[in-house]
């Protein structure tokens, strides 16, 4: 391709941003609907968050999946059935690499290229400005549609306590890669999500002393129940209220009441925040290897003061505050972003006022993300195809769908937090997508 300042028109081609799990699924679904696709990936290989070889990947050496294989694999490309119930993160990267190889997706991916801006060019088309990560001139190309699959686990959520006067080391969980970093240290882990609990458990095995600070109580689901992966044992067919009851019962039977160890009691019902799947935290709390503490109030010198006035002296603080979705290349109004920075999208995927703009993978399901991202991408690809094949029907579908609020398909009262607003129940979500797919089916 030549390097020209003028806009290259790519006609009916679709631009996909990101070649992680969601981007790869989108690329494949669009191709199956006959679109030509340009996919831009700023790293030099596929895998996104699971591509541990690059700095922005959040995975650490010991990370395993927290949802079991059947609930995590792509629905049309199963993982090998002799893999463990909860594969290691490197197996997931291998799986994504095989997926892109198997379907020949690499031919359409521009590696080492980042998307600088996406602006409407009128008529539903988009001008996409890209730049080589290594530097070089920017290039603008015009596309018929843009699908952002840029992930939501790479931009760390800032830690709000002032750490400038603290003498110990402070790092975000994204910088934590290997248990060797914890060996012999006095570690404070902040954050009760899956990452925070995983790191606390690892610290319990490696560090000299471990404190685990959590602001809110969580439901700690076990990985196994009656010798089977726990997520395979909870009948997903049941209504939400029943499942919440069963979940409470399961947690009572396994982890039990953790307030005894000083952990706060959950302030929400099961499924309303991202489920934390960890069987080992309670074990190490019980062995005194982890001390549960409350919120951090201030950090100064060698001391960390907690909200209850207690003082501790860690020399390593790991903030597992989570990550925030970011779409720097899109003007906020295109995604109807509210004052708290949350996009308002139909099914957390379709831009309500721009029928050729969508986001894939912006979900926190109570199961694996890949199946949901797959069906999202199938819906988006079929939608773009319908706009071409049957504009009248597409207009009718859009009129009906674009105004549906999130609560029309999700009964969850999610915890109001910058991390939990895109929490979804995977069965509710799939039902809503299935509904949309049925609306788009050609009349036979």
């Amino acid at each position: 391709m030549q390097d020209t300042p003028d806009i290259a028109d790519r006609h009916d081609a679709v631009c996909v941003i990101g070649a992680g799990a969601s981007g790869l699924a989108t690329l494949k679904s669009l191709r199956e609907q006959g679109f030509s696709v340009d996919c831009y990936e700023r790293e030099t290989s596929v895998g996104g968050a699971w591509n541990w070889r690059h700095d922005r990947s959040p995975v650490y050496s010991t990370a395993h999946l927290v949802s079991s294989r059947p609930l995590t694999e792509f629905p049309d490309f199963p993982m090998p059935d002799d893999w463990p119930d909860y594969p290691h993160h490197s197996q997931l990267l291998g799986y994504l690499e095989r997926y892109s190889e198997h379907f020949g997706l690499r031919d359409d991916i521009w590696f080492g290229t980042e998307v600088v801006s996406v602006t409407p060019a009128g008529d539903g088309r988009w001008d996409v400005t890209t730049r080589s990560v290594g530097g070089g001139a920017e290039r603008v190309q015009r596309y018929a549609a843009v699908i952002a699959a840029n992930g939501h686990n790479w931009a760390p959520k800032p830690f709000t306590v002032d750490t400038s006067e603290f003498r110990g080391r402070v790092m975000h969980a994204s910088a934590y890669k290997d248990p060797a970093q914890l060996r012999g240290r006095k570690v404070l882990v902040i954050g009760g999500g899956n990452t925070g609990c995983d790191i606390a458990v690892e610290a319990a095995q490696q560090a000299e002393k471990v404190w685990h600070s959590t602001r809110r109580g969580y439901w700690f689901a076990p990985k196994y129940l009656f010798g089977r992966p726990a997520d395979q044992m909870l009948p997903p067919r049941l209504p939400l209220r029943f499942r919440q009851k069963l979940y409470r019962w399961m947690v009572r039977l396994t982890a039990g009441d953790l307030t005894r160890y000083g952990l706060p009691a959950p302030d929400h019902r099961p499924y309303e925040s991202h489920p934390v799947v960890n069987s080992q935290l309670a074990y190490y709390l019980g062995h005194g290897r982890i001390t549960a503490v409350g919120d951090v109030a201030s950090m100064e010198g060698s001391t960390v003061e907690l909200s209850d006035g207690k003082r501790i002296e860690p020399d390593l603080v790991i903030t597992a505050t989570g990550y925030l979705p970011r779409f720097e290349f899109l003007a906020p109004e295109l995604l109807d972003v509210d004052e708290d920075g949350r996009p308002d999208l139909h099914l957390h995927a379709f831009a309500r006022r721009h029928p050729t703009l969508a986001v894939i993978g912006l979900l926190q399901p109570d199961a694996g993300l890949l199946p949901l991202a797959h069906w999202q991408s199938v819906a988006v690809a079929r939608w773009l195809r319908l706009r071409i094949d049957d504009p009248a029907k597409a207009a009718a579908v859009q009129q009906k769908e674009s105004v549906r609020p999130v609560r029309s398909w999700s009964r969850l009262q999610v915890v109001p937090s910058s991390r939990h607003w895109f929490e979804v129940g995977h069965t509710d979500y799939l039902r809503a997508v299935e509904d949309l797919l049925k609306h788009m089916e050609p009349a036979s």
Binding site: K28, E32, R69, P70, L71, P75, D76, F77, P78, P80, D81, D82, E101, H102, F103, G104, D231, Q232, M233, P235, P236, R237, W375, T427, L430, R431, V433, E434, L437
Partner: protein, 254 residues
């Protein structure tokens, strides 16, 4: 039809893994063609394709694999195994099913976006096939109704002058029942081209059934008169496999 999105059965009761028998013949050098996966019907194993078709496909530049059905299987388990093997191959795979193997393939197409599919002498609907079997081989077929297992005879499967009768295995009646009571497969994913081949002289798959199956996939069957049900073992085995590969080469160019 059950939902393709909400797969409760696969989530809560996954098919248990087994060691699968996969035979293969590979071309030298690798031509970058899509791999072919042959799926035999009941009573047969991967051996049925090793006789002629695997080697011939490889000689025409296609890596060819054949999968034996697992012991004590079911339609669901067979479909699972086909999708597992196909997804494990390096490139998007062409699924080729024979007999009941074609039924397995038609279900697998809803679970895996195959590059293309071929249904050879397909038994997609078990009832007419059962009727045809009763007519040509009542003594082999009747015991199946009483749990005795289904016997297949030479007359049913082969044209005169050809027999592999002694290599056939008996499947438990439960397997046949799961085939007879199978629900209609969901629509294929990824809209692969599908070819139906068969013989008008097949004693198991009637001409009418062939036409019906081909019509379901929007075409007409490719016919090889004079051949028995087991196209891949017949003395004239080369004709259908050459026709299949010719069709495939044309489809891959399109």
């Amino acid at each position: 039809m059950s939902s393709q999105l909400l797969r409760f059965e696969d989530w809560t009761a996954p098919v248990p893994p087994v060691r699968r028998e996969v035979l293969s013949a590979l071309p030298h050098p690798d031509e970058k063609n899509p791999p072919l996966l042959f799926v035999p019907g009941l009573g047969h194993g991967a051996w049925a394709f090793r006789e002629h078709w695997l080697g011939h496909a490889a000689s025409r530049g296609f890596s060819a694999y054949a999968l034996s059905p697992r012991a004590a299987g079911s339609l669901r388990a067979y479909v699972h195994d086909v999708v597992q093997v196909a997804a494990g191959l390096p490139r998007q795979t062409v699924l080729i099913g024979h007999g009941v193997g074609a039924l397995v393939v038609s279900h697998a197409l809803a679970r895996y976006p195959a590059k293309a599919a071929v249904l050879a002498a397909p038994v997609l609907d078990g009832w007419p096939a059962l009727g045809a079997a009763l007519r040509t081989n009542p003594f082999g077929t009747l015991p199946a109704f009483f749990g005795g297992g289904l016997g297949l005879s030479r007359k049913q499967l082969y044209s005169p002058g050809c027999t592999y009768e002694r290599k056939l295995t008996r499947e438990p009646t439960a397997v046949y029942r799961s085939v007879l009571t199978a629900s209609r497969p969901a629509a294929p994913v990824g809209s692969p081209p599908v070819l139906v081949v068969g013989s008008p002289d097949d004693k198991i798959v009637t001409r009418k059934a062939l036409d019906r199956t081909a019509a379901r996939f929007g075409g007409a069957p490719l016919l090889f008169p004079g051949m028995g049900h087991d196209l891949m073992l017949d003395t004239e085995w080369q004709e259908p496999i050459d026709a299949i590969i010719d069709w495939l080469e044309k489809e891959l160019l399109a």
